[in-house]
């Protein structure tokens, strides 16, 4: 019994603690570096759904997101952006910007059923976003122009076509 405690006292606790601390610090530094790059520089996003067909696959694509240009205000018409959904702040959606502030946007109100279109001017500080697949997309045609501040990144590259995950089903 006392031999057990003697061995316990013989273990180099100080240097083990020192080692553990320096490794934990390294992990913390790595986590912080990854967080800062992911949130403020460049990130990867997995986007799926029908609203951006044919640009983005139904089953999902991995896209590279540029966070710097969005924050600097360098988003233009035609860019595909990642933004926080105005209907649920916990969701992030990908849409294409079709109008910047001051632009006049004409859109089809109900493309499946009629040819009626409406024209609207995008208010100050807002953007007009639409999915490429207007038949299956919930976008500015339903919820109106969205404030630019909801945009979190600009998509500049599709990563998953370089590494293709093809599922064979017969």
């Amino acid at each position: 019994m006392s031999g057990f405690f003697r061995r316990l006292a013989g273990i180099p606790w100080r240097s083990i603690a020192g080692d553990a601390f320096s490794r934990a610090l390294l992990v913390a530094q790595a986590y912080c570096a990854v967080h800062v790059v992911d949130q403020h520089l460049c990130s990867l996003a997995f986007v799926r759904g029908p609203s951006m067909l044919p640009a983005i696959n139904l089953a999902g694509d991995v896209l590279a997101v540029d966070r710097v240009s969005a924050r600097l205000g360098r988003v233009e018409n035609g860019d595909v952006v990642l933004m926080i959904s105005p209907e649920d702040p916990r969701k992030v959606v990908a849409k294409r910007v079709l109008g910047m502030e001051g632009d006049s946007v004409t859109y089809l109100v109900d493309p499946g059923n009629s040819d009626a279109s409406k024209t609207v001017v995008v208010p100050q500080g807002h953007v007009w976003v639409q999915g490429d697949n207007i038949y299956a997309s919930k976008d500015s045609r339903q919820f109106g122009a969205v404030p630019y501040g909801l945009i979190t990144g600009k998509i500049f590259c599709r990563v998953s076509s370089v590494i293709s995950f093809a599922s064979l089903s017969f």
Binding site: V36, P86, I151
Partner: protein, 163 residues
């Protein structure tokens, strides 16, 4: 040249690592911001160079309570950051006395107003704002020392009917 670099490197590394820790802490936990303008007096007063503690944990689940003082990006200009009081949550009915109307807050949006009603441009001019624009919640004033206190939530009487 190489010796100067080798000498400066540990200090540079310390600054870079400190910056990363600080940025991560400011994004996940809390940060300190300065107050500008008068739209929230007397609760927050920009003229005394006040600094407020903005906590970010409310952004994990967008869990706000009516009456919180929040920091948000302006819907009119994404570079501007405003501080207002959150009066109504999605689904609430709010009475807007200026326009004699009663509006329902849509899903995912909220209604913000400055405490200094005469001198504040807020949801009464631009309507409900999406919750996605929220950047944090103000919990305390931390500077100057004579103004250190907690910022409490309080609600204007009789303007809201909740869901």
């Amino acid at each position: 040249m190489a010796r100067a670099l080798a000498f400066a490197w540990p200090y540079a590394k310390f600054c870079i690592v400190g910056g990363l820790f600080g940025r991560t802490f400011a994004d996940w936990c809390a940060s300190v911001s300065s107050v500008d303008g008068e739209s929230m007096s007397p609760t927050l007063d920009g003229h005394q160079a006040e600094r407020m503690l903005v906590e970010k944990r409310c952004l994990y689940t967008y869990d706000f309570t009516r009456g919180d003082v929040v920091v948000l990006r302006s819907p009119r200009s994404h570079r501007e950051v405003l501080v207002k009081r959150l009066i109504a949550l999605p689904g609430d009915w709010i009475q807007v006395p200026e326009n004699q109307e009663i509006r329902q807050i849509p899903q995912g949006h909220c209604w913000v107003e400055g405490d200094n009603a005469a001198n504040s441009s807020d949801s009464r001019s631009y309507g409900p704002v999406p919750l996605g624009l929220m950047q944090g919640r103000v919990t305390h004033v931390v500077w100057p020392p004579q103004r250190i206190r907690r910022v409490d939530r309080n609600m204007p009487e009789g303007r809201i009917m909740s869901q």
